[in-house]
Subunit: 320 residues, 2 copies
Amino acid sequence: MSAKTGHCKIVDCTIRDGGLVNNWDFSVEFVQHLYRRLNEAGVDYMEIGYKNSPKLLKGADAAGPWRFLDDDFLRKVIPQKGNTKLSALVDIGRVDENDILPREESLLDLIRVACYIQDVDKALRLVQLFHDRGYETTLNIMALSNVMEHQLIEAFEEIRNSVVDVVYIVDSYGSLLPNDIDQLVAKFQQHLPNKRLGVHMHNNMQMGFANTLIGAQKGVELLDASVYGMGRAAGNCPTELLVANLKNTKYDLRPVLDMIENHMIPLREKEEWGYIIPYMITGMLDEHPRSAMALRNTPDKDKAVDFYDKLTTPEVLHDK
Amino acid sequence: MSAKTGHCKIVDCTIRDGGLVNNWDFSVEFVQHLYRRLNEAGVDYMEIGYKNSPKLLKGADAAGPWRFLDDDFLRKVIPQKGNTKLSALVDIGRVDENDILPREESLLDLIRVACYIQDVDKALRLVQLFHDRGYETTLNIMALSNVMEHQLIEAFEEIRNSVVDVVYIVDSYGSLLPNDIDQLVAKFQQHLPNKRLGVHMHNNMQMGFANTLIGAQKGVELLDASVYGMGRAAGNCPTELLVANLKNTKYDLRPVLDMIENHMIPLREKEEWGYIIPYMITGMLDEHPRSAMALRNTPDKDKAVDFYDKLTTPEVLHDK
């Protein structure tokens, strides 16, 4: 395995993915502080939220502004852009195309489209639109551990012929091991020789950083992470570990430590994410963490044996 | 990378390495419960403590009995042995040879000798003694990340000609990455073709499980771990992740979850170990965690930036 990682770029998803933990209840000051620190640290992209439309989502009123990014608001939050580019994620069926300004009128540089394998065609239509409006684009294929080979092969053909810049391998359930990353990256490289690759890994089995680094050393370019690993359920590859270990002199760990010390450790006392046994169990079972998230909101949150029995008893049906 | 791990054996170090966290203050009931659960889980070895001599160590009075295992005491703790074998660790210069009974008079099956590279000769003399008394033996070379090539090559020759059964790669500082494991395992396999290998990994950079699994897939046989990762500073590869992911039908996760739910989660509320930023910093700097352990005992325990500055400012000398 080569140790070369100088080609890599970090995409910090603390606000976007971390918002799934606290319903995007980050103050403007928190986000401004993070943006400043990521710039100082040399982090390449900051994903500052979702660009979905509140008209197309239930429960939208209660969420913080980072769930439905507005370009005017964004300009007030970040009056002066640094070297760290800005990114937003959209979901199929939840984005209003009219909300997407031409890039020269927006602070956003990158728009990423998340989808399941059966919606790759719809996702690529959105990618084309964003591309035509001047943005960098990525396609983030979720739940790859649940995708059958023939579905993937069909999707590859569409992707190969699309304008998308980067294609992501997303370990939605935190179930992938290094061996899986080796094989998936090799397969994507074989079938998509004209595309750059990205990885978004979850930490259910303490593999977030390891899988990301292994992908990087196999040639993956965009690496998703979040500060102190903040993200839904078990969370993500920690930004600080990438900044500390990628072979690139532009990265500086100190500003990320400052963010952790002053903002993330206090936040972790109020909100929960990370390596927690029910999330480990859904990860090893290759399942969505929603059953574990529900358990963590009950007094039985540490009853791991009952939870394991429930998920592994064949006659008990549970949704994925 | 092959995904084969059927040749592997798990060595659970919860009591021995976890004792470094709580000064071996485990009740007899706790240890009995763990032994029962490890048997049910199919775990191969339980390292139940150190077999050093209290006469040769300072501060011995305050420690729990697992720091200085006594064969009579052990027989009371475990009146009935199961399939899980018992192991003890000794340190060079801290073991009284007269304390080591012939194997047929002891509950112990395996005695492991830990040493730094410069003491391999002394360690192998002890190994010979334990071997002659009938025990399985391992040699655990600590701090391999700080060893120079010529030291290693010299040690390999002595080891190759010794009776030791298994040679361990120990990542004492939690500083190794998958690429390092690849290269170290390949080197050990090349120079020690007649020896089985083991790995003992620390979790400073969330690499405990990943490095262990990568070693396993390259042919390493003995895998150290501890339940819920309990071990000094950042702790170890979690036993539950090995039991859940190794390809061997003999392993059962449920008893390990029971141990975590009933014993480890309450214990973790009183004692600290795991992925904590000062330990991440000593890991990335390839240093002993003692400076971080000292910091965690002060009101400044989360002052990561000052700690990082202190360790990375060239004019400030600090011991390793």
